[in-house]
């Protein structure tokens, strides 16, 4: 397992560098940020002065060199927009995103495993058909639409929940999480159901039943662990989506997460913050991919034995 991990991590280093470089160049293709930060009436001299102060007058390779040298010292620069250190801004925003992603995936996976298994247990039964239809619908509802509806219905009309915001009791989590949840939940229910249907029709399930195992034991003791591989993969991908930023939820509910930070810094050409944010999410995503691989190895002894390429 240790060699497995070491190899996996080493092989992740190069893509990481690719992402960082890619973001650097892509960001600079979006144009010079000077105009955004000076008043419309600023003179040419003022513009030049500002560009020089921020290092935008240098050639791209020179800018890249400066960036890499600073990054090596863990200095990711200062935000043009707020004047804060980019690292600090990113580290402030990231926990919010992680919390949202964590709670969402926890609930999505738990819920999907329960409901997906129940549906798969009796294929084509009423439960199955309701669960399938609901999950398909859930997976195809535009999330911002759901969010705005949620605010209007539960926030304003019924008054059960706060409309938005992060400060307060657990109730502030409900709408953002529910919005984030619908799609992963819908997708995962279908994936769990699909792989559970095939797992439950496997001969070893019949054997388990012939031993007098209860349905619970059959589902959770035997079928689930065999059905978990595709579920893990899909859940991993969905989590990547959430880590990369739940922009819509963060925007609507005013959660200061990394997604909102990224889109703001793109629109504001705040390169330092953008680069720091992408680096952090990329590292997280690589870690997540490794985690998924480890989970695969843990759940399936056959994967564990095969030496990874």
């Amino acid at each position: 397992m240790v060699t497995f991990l070491r190899k996996r991590m080493l092989s992740s280093a190069i893509p990481l560098v690719c992402v960082v470089l890619g973001v650097f160049f892509l960001a600079r293709m979006t144009g010079n940020p000077v105009d955004l930060y000076l008043p419309l009436s600023a003179t040419a001299e003022q513009r030049a002065e500002f560009a020089a102060a921020q290092g935008f007058d240098l050639s791209i390779p020179a800018q890249l060199w400066n960036y890499l040298v600073d990054a090596a010292h863990l200095d990711f620069g200062t935000s043009l927009r707020t004047g804060q250190s980019a690292t600090e801004m990113v580290l402030d925003a990231f926990p919010v995103t992680l919390q949202l992603a964590g709670v969402t995936m926890l609930l999505a996976i738990t819920g999907a495993v329960l409901i997906g298994s129940l549906a798969a247990y009796r294929p084509n039964s009423l439960v199955d058909r309701i669960a399938s239809l609901l999950s398909m619908t859930a997976a195809s509802i535009p999330d911002f639409w759901f969010a705005v509806m949620g605010v209007l219905v539960f926030g304003v009309s019924l008054g059960w929940l706060p409309t938005s915001g992060t400060l307060g009791g657990p109730e502030v989590w409900v709408l953002p999480i529910a919005t984030l949840l619908i799609r992963p939940f819908g997708v995962l229910v279908q994936v769990v159901r699909g792989s559970m249907v095939s797992a439950l029709s496997a001969p070893y399930v019949k054997i388990a039943r012939s031993k007098g195992a209860t349905p619970r034991r059959v589902i959770f003791g035997h079928a689930l662990r065999n059905a978990v591989t595709p579920v893990l993969t899909v859940a991993g991908d969905l989590t990547v989506g959430l880590v990369n930023g739940a922009v819509i939820v963060e925007t609507i509910f005013g959660w200061p997460g990394i997604g909102k930070l990224m889109i703001d810094s793109i629109l504001q050409r705040d390169f330092a913050v953008l680069q720091a944010a992408v680096l952090l999410t990329a590292v997280t995503i690589f870690a997540l991919n490794i985690l998924v691989d480890v989970c695969h190895a843990l759940t399936d002894p056959r994967v564990r034995q095969a030496v990874p390429a």
Binding site: L36, T43, L107, W160, P162, I252
Partner: protein, 530 residues
């Protein structure tokens, strides 16, 4: 977290520590059917009648006073936390004394200001002319690249001197008849403020002082008890921000906030909203260097093609006024004689036909550039304009851009090889004088102008040196002249802002509200409560 000025531990970190508990709680809550008893309060805290909760569109990037000409910063800072020497009455355009009690032009290039006594900063230090001189110097002459510097002063440095504790002189390189107006944009800070770097949280003389800033979540203000003026009604204020207008509106409906800015016009019918002219004017800037827009008849036809009333009624909630010039009423230079052009499709078509007959390539595709988020309904407005221009026989496509991209079209050097551009602009007249407008938008080499005439350039330069009624008249005439001879702009509307106001408070928005929301002018609606 370093910008917390109070000893209270910052909530951001506390939240991370309580994450586990929250995770569990959230899980339990969701799985138990998520019925929460009672009405939840939300970010802005509970409605206790003592805290004024304001919901903005975005988090202020900083509260640095020399950046106060940025809308996001100014709306919180100006007149709440810090104050300038002079303030401009948004309705009349007149200047009123604030931290200066009086001022006069003592020679051609020098103005002298008397400063108020008995004023203390929120850190307890007394305010003197020395502080005023320091603040002007810091904002205008330093290397901080303050936004206000470029916004109102341009390149020229000022020579500032505190001649006594209560008097200072400001000397300009060129005679400047509107220097006091320019200085109304400079917020006064104590001389102990960092002159080398921008601060995120300022100290000022205003009625409120910052008590905490929870990044991403809220900014809290407390009433400053040593304020020299009348104490404001609310002991505390709290700013939160939501970028979605429907959520801001919902927060008013729900009672989670007392004031919400920039609501969609669609909400205008509610009792809980108040509209106010916000000194912004929208127009279509036609690039007169590229055919077919280089033809005066085509530009005039575009002006005639636009259905201003229709757009205002359907898309802007009826809140705006049709415009015939770039400056709205109340601004020096506004011409009362100019009537907004009325739509006349037949005449517009005739003009196009005429131009076509003369060999003008009216089929050439014109790109209509607009910026997302410029105002509520901007993309629909762009679509309407496109449709109306197509109706008279022009070939138009819409391009929605983000701020940075749109600025490339708006500012010189203008992009090359992009064909004829019709740029939707929104011009702010907060400065209150047409000089700010004409030098930018009408001069043939103005930073935001595509072309002009020598005649117009000359008249602008002349008008700029005048003052009083002559100034007003000169600007008014040249604005009318642009509509006759240049027609670079198809004016659309003098816009309005829409504010959400809880029934529990009273507040009269004015044209400056969008840039400077004076919390001290908000009072509880006593009558409504009892």
């Amino acid at each position: 977290m370093k910008f917390s000025v109070s000893p209270i531990p910052p909530a951001g970190r506390r939240r991370s520590r309580a994450t586990t508990a929250m995770l569990l709680a959230g899980t339990v809550l969701l799985s138990s059917g998520c019925a929460v008893a009672g009405s939840a309060a939300g970010d802005a805290g509970r409605a206790d009648g003592r805290t004024l909760r304001v919901v903005l569109t975005q988090e202020p990037p900083t509260l640095e006073p020399c950046e106060a000409s940025l809308t996001g910063t100014g709306v919180v800072v100006r007149s709440n936390i810090t104050e300038p020497l002079v303030e401009r009455d948004p309705d009349s355009g007149e200047l009123h004394p604030l931290l200066a009690t009086g001022w006069k032009q003592t020679d051609e290039r020098t103005w002298t200001f008397d400063t108020r006594t008995g004023v203390t900063f929120q850190n307890g230090e007394p305010f003197t002319a020395e502080d005023a001189a320091f603040s002007i110097d810091r904002a205008v002459n330093s290397d901080l690249a303050c936004n206000v510097e470029g916004y109102v002063f341009g390149d020229a440095d000022l020579e500032v001197k505190a001649v006594s504790d209560t008097r200072l002189t400001v000397t300009t390189e060129q005679p400047d008849p509107i220097l006091p107006l320019r200085l109304s944009f400079v917020e006064i800070v104590p001389r102990t403020t960092d002159a080398e770097a921008k601060v995120r949280i300022p100290i000022g003389t205003g009625p409120y002082a910052v008590s905490s800033w929870q990044p991403g979540a809220a900014i809290s203000l407390n009433r400053y008890d040593g304020y020299w003026g009348e104490a404001p009604a609310f002991p505390r204020a709290r700013y939160v921000w939501r970028s979605d207008a429907s959520v801001r509106a919902a927060m008013i409906d729900k009672g989670e906030a007392e004031i919400a800015v920039a609501l969609d016009p669609i909400e205008a019918h509610k009792d809980t909203t108040a509209s106010y002219p916000n000194n912004e004017t929208t127009a279509l800037r036609l690039d007169g260097r590229e055919p077919p827009l280089d033809d005066l008849r085509v530009r005039r036809a575009v002006d005639l093609a636009v259905d201003r009333e229709g757009i205002i009624d359907a898309l802007l909630g009826g809140l705006a006024e049709p415009a015939g010039q770039l400056v709205p009423p109340g601004v020096v230079g506004h011409n009362d004689e100019i009537r907004p052009t009325r739509q006349n499709v037949a005449r517009a078509k005739a003009l196009i036909e005429e131009a076509k007959a003369d060999g003008v390539p009216v089929d050439r595709q014109i790109t209509l550039v607009a910026r997302n988020g410029m105002f509520s309904g901007v993309s629909e407005t762009a679509e309407a304009l496109q449709y109306q221009m197509q109706q008279i026989g022009l070939n138009v496509r819409v391009r929605m851009a983000d701020t940075a991209t749109q600025l490339q079209y708006q500012l010189r050097p203008l992009p090359k090889g992009v064909g004829p551009i019709a740029l939707l602009i929104m011009h702010g007249n907060q400065a209150g004088d047409a000089a700010f407008t004409t030098s930018q938008y009408l001069m043939s080499d103005g930073p935001q102008s595509t072309f002009g005439t020598e005649e117009l350039d000359r008249r602008i330069a002349e008008a700029d040196a005048l003052s009083g009624d002559e100034r007003q008249k000169a600007f008014a005439e040249l604005l009318a002249d642009q509509n006759k001879t240049v027609v670079q702009y198809t004016h659309l509307a003098h816009m309005s802002g829409l504010l959400g106001l809880s029934p529990s408070i009273r507040y009269e928005p004015d044209s400056a509200t969008g840039d400077e929301m004076r919390l001290a002018e908000v009072s509880p609606a006593k009558a409504a409560q009892h």
